[in-house]
């Protein structure tokens, strides 16, 4: 029997532009990019030169601090440019894409017959290691450490999140092989969290993992919340986390012997004309994915990921390594709203009952909301209390933790559970904050500080 964990707190933001379950291909494109900033905190060393021919799976760069962690090309072609910024910091590695993708060949093997070390080495060699993250610190996992357990989130509850059931359809074999590989990496359990109303045969039939069902609003799909409810991280422990869609890449590596990073990306948001899925790889130019499918008459913001924790990019940017969702929003900087703070603002969503969101949800439960990227207020000191609590379903006092982070009180941070969290867990706190405090940035900086102090 699977136990169902009920997440009581949280907030579902019902935005316009949910992707319809239809997949199409990108339009034609020639340039592909590996973007260094996709990998947080990475100090990179480039392993190719301009003019080098690459295949899908060829190493483009490595991590200077952990040279065994490689970052590989998702396409085959020729390196055209290595773009650097200030202090020669690597920005992009650009590749001119071949018409037909050539794959670097890896042995086809059953991970269950391999040792943990061998699986680890294979994942590093094939450039799939960066998809495994670790907590504390929410960074690429340190391959030298042994995790207490591995957590795989099998659903996403963020605004306009892609439907994993749809994406995973027919990929049972790759999913199971990927999960098998993960079981070799830890002495503890591999936990797979799925939504309580998931009908995905692929997820429900997964073997060799501990399946946990979750019920509730966003952020129930965040792996951090799931860890906190299944088996919280204690000081000194390390756990690894992974998104189930990335587990498919591992499955393909062992089943087919190739690095095939093709995924279905949900193109979503109020400003998308026909929200749908696009079959593409990380590093694909946004222009080819969006392909004119947006409202052009207003300034737009393109977000790699969801509207709460995604990263900002431009139309001439590229799909991020981790994104299986693109969100297109109205920038809104041209709006000059007179006394907006007393207006009813029917078209915008609010978690506050001083707006009529609750009434609109009651009258038209299916009608979604518009949004723009305005902050909608000035930054203030923390005034309202209990706001973060309502959207933070972990056994952690969010406001107190944020305050400890602001004052850089390392001991307090540890005591209040900083090792268990990632910035994305605080996205809803930041969204509903009356004082408009940049909570995710504060948590990120605190994690960086702590990592530096602990020297690991």
């Amino acid at each position: 029997m699977i136990n169902v964990i009920d997440i009581k707190k949280g907030l579902d933001i019902n935005l316009k532009g949910k992707a319809a379950p239809e997949a199409k291909s990108t339009s034609y494109f020639e340039d592909w990019s590996m973007t260094s900033s996709d990998y947080y905190g990475l100090v990179s060393k480039v392993m190719v030169r301009e003019g080098s021919p690459v295949q899908a799976g060829t190493t483009l760069m490595i991590d200077k601090n952990h040279p065994e962690i490689r970052f590989v090309s998702a396409v085959s072609g020729t390196v055209t440019d290595i773009v650097r910024g200030d202090k020669r910091k690597l920005l992009n590695i650009l590749v001119k894409v071949d018409l037909k993708t050539e794959f670097l060949k890896f042995p086809i093997e059953n991970p269950l017959d391999m040792t943990g070390q061998a699986v680890k080495a294979r994942l590093c060699e094939a450039g799939l290691w960066p998809y495994i993250k670790q907590r504390p610190y929410d960074i690429i996992a340190n391959p030298e450490k042994k995790p207490r357990s591995i957590f795989v989130s099998g659903f996403d509850t963020a605004p306009l999140a892609p439907d994993y059931t749809y994406i995973l359809k027919g990929q049972s074999a790759d999913l199971q092989t990927g999960l098998n590989a993960l079981t070799r990496l830890t002495d503890g359990a591999v936990y797979l969290s799925i939504s309580a109303d998931s009908l995905s045969i692929e997820l429900l039939s997964a073997q060799k993992v501990v399946t946990c069902q979750f019920k509730g609003k966003h952020p129930a799909g965040n792996v951090g919340v799931q860890i906190n409810h299944i088996s919280p991280i204690n000081k000194g422990e390390v756990v690894w986390t992974m998104n189930v869609l990335d587990v498919l890449f591992i499955g393909r590596l062992f089943n087919k012997g190739v690095v095939d990073l093709t995924r279905l990306v949900a193109v979503t948001g109020p400003e998308v004309v026909r929200p749908e899925y696009v079959r593409c790889k990380p590093g694909t130019p946004l222009r080819a994915i969006v392909d004119g499918n947006v409202h052009k008459e207003i300034p737009l913001r393109f977000v790699n990921g969801n509207a709460l924790s995604g990263t900002r990019t431009e139309l001439d940017g590229y799909l991020s390594a981790y994104a299986s969702q693109l969100t297109v929003l109205h920038e809104g900087s041209e709006i000059h709203e007179l006394a907006g703070w007393v207006m009813p603002r029917f078209r915008l969503f609010s978690s506050s009952r001083t707006y009529f969101t609750w009434l609109r949800k009651l009258l038209y439960p299916d009608r979604a909301f518009e949004a723009d990227t305005r902050v909608l207020g000035g930054e203030r000191a923390l005034i309202m209390s209990g706001e973060y609590d309502k959207v933070f379903p972990m056994d952690i006092l969010p406001e107190q933790l944020v305050r400890a982070c602001l004052t850089e009180d390392l001991e307090k941070m540890e005591q209040l559970g900083i090792y268990e969290v990632a910035p994305e867990d605080f996205a809803l706190c930041e969204y509903s904050c009356t004082s408009k405090i940049e909570v995710q940035r504060i948590i990120r900086e605190a994690l960086d500080l702590l990592k530096k102090e602990n020297d690991d």
Binding site: L308, G340, S352, R353, A371, T373, V375, G386, P423
Partner: protein
């Protein structure tokens, strides 16, 4: 117009005033830089404005009651109409509101200018609360001095809105209460007999006039039973106290109007219902204990009368719920509210020196709010520590 106010412009000395008005009237067009790309439409301006909306019933009723008590005291109530009574009250109360806002916002503007920050809207609520918790007879210059004192020493020196330890409006009242006791308590401060909307020469009161509030009557009562009376000597029923046509501070007499505000605040989620409920729970249970012992007449007053007296209800709904000075943890809010209710009633009933305990109870708990939070936070920390030591034992 904007360039004249920016750095180096002709009117740059007033830049924060200009920005204040611009930010006040328009929604900032700034878009998110880091973190979330969409924000909730709620902001602190709306929160403050919603508290002001919740105060409107108290304000309007207080204005009417000021006129009503005045005309009742001089014996002309029967000969004039509703609008004249209300209009008289409006004109009598308005100067207090104007003085409070002018002084408080003036200081906020200046300190925003010095700190080169945006003007913060916290005083919009405080500035309206101050007149509502004062007696109508108090001279305007005292209000100005007290407001200036509390905005500077209870708020700005702590760092401004969001950093103050004490409720600013209550500090204003406490300042007046201890500096000018003769203008803040007693029988003669609650009703103005002065003819020109609280100014000019006082006119003669009716025979048998007594300006004592029910709370004042209770504090000095002798004998076995307290007989509350109105200012003209007629007996006062519970309904009178609840409806609020009685002497008292401007905004606090009508428990009905306060309840309307409370329903609005709780329904919109602006104030913590936990604090409001727990203050009343604390107060009522203390009275029940007093009723049990019933050593004197004051201890026998039933709770439905007690909560309508003085500033208890107003303090519970509008003062204790100030999120900055209250406990910030959810468990802490229950304890904080309960203790306010208990202490307010103890001071009120057992200490004859202070007829009203609510102000002191809230100010006292403002100090202890942080201590309560400390223990709630320690509880969470201990739980995490225990978890760690358990898991190391297993390993």
């Amino acid at each position: 117009m904007k360039p004249a106010f920016s750095e180096g412009g002709k009117l740059s000395a007033l830049h924060s005033v200009f920005q204040g008005f611009e930010a006040f009237l328009f929604v900032p067009d700034q878009t998110s830089r880091s973190g979330v790309h969409i924000h909730d439409s709620i902001d602190s301006k709306r929160i403050m404005f919603w508290v002001i909306l919740a105060l409107v019933p108290c304000l309007l009723f207080g204005m009417y009651n000021t006129g009503y008590q005045h005309y009742l005291a001089i014996g002309l109530l029967d000969s004039i109409g509703f609008w004249q009574v209300f209009g008289w009250g409006v004109l009598a109360v308005l100067p207090y509101i104007m003085v409070s806002y002018a002084v408080g916002l003036g200081i906020e503007f200046i300190s925003a200018q010095i700190k080169k920050e945006e003007i913060q809207e916290g005083f919009l609520v405080t500035g309206l609360l101050i007149p509502l918790i004062l007696p109508i007879g108090i001279p305007l210059w005292m209000v100005a001095v007290a407001t200036a004192f509390s905005v500077i020493f209870a708020k700005e020196v702590f760092g401004g809105t969001g950093y103050n330890v004490f409720n600013v409006a209550l500090v204003t009242r406490a300042f007046l209460f201890f500096s000018y006791p003769s203008k803040m308590s007693g029988d003669n401060v609650w009703i103005t007999l002065k003819d020109y909307f609280g100014f000019g020469q006082p006119v003669a009161a009716i025979d048998g006039f007594s300006g004592a509030t029910p709370l004042g009557q209770a504090a000095i009562a002798t004998g076995d039973v307290i007989n509350f009376t109105g200012i003209s000597g007629e007996p006062m029923t519970w309904w009178d106290m609840f409806f609020g046509l009685i002497p008292g501070s401007i905004g606090e007499t009508s428990t009905l109007a306060i309840f309307l505000g409370a329903i609005f605040l709780i329904a919109t989620g602006v104030a913590s219902w936990k604090i409001i409920v727990s203050v009343f729970t604390g107060g009522i249970s203390t009275i029940l204990v007093f009723n049990l012992f019933a050593a004197n007449a004051y201890m026998e007053v039933p709770f439905w009368e007690q909560i309508c007296l003085g500033g208890f209800a107003f303090g519970a709904v509008f003062m204790a719920t100030d999120p900055v000075t209250a406990s910030r943890t959810e468990t802490g809010k229950w304890i904080y509210g309960l203790l306010i209710g208990v202490i307010a009633m103890i001071i009120r009933v057992l200490n004859p020196a202070y007829p009203e305990g609510m102000m002191l109870a809230i100010l006292l708990m403002n100090i202890f709010a942080k201590l309560i939070d400390y223990y709630v936070v320690q509880h969470n920390i201990k739980k995490r520590l225990r978890r760690t030591s358990l898991s190391t034992k297993v390993n």
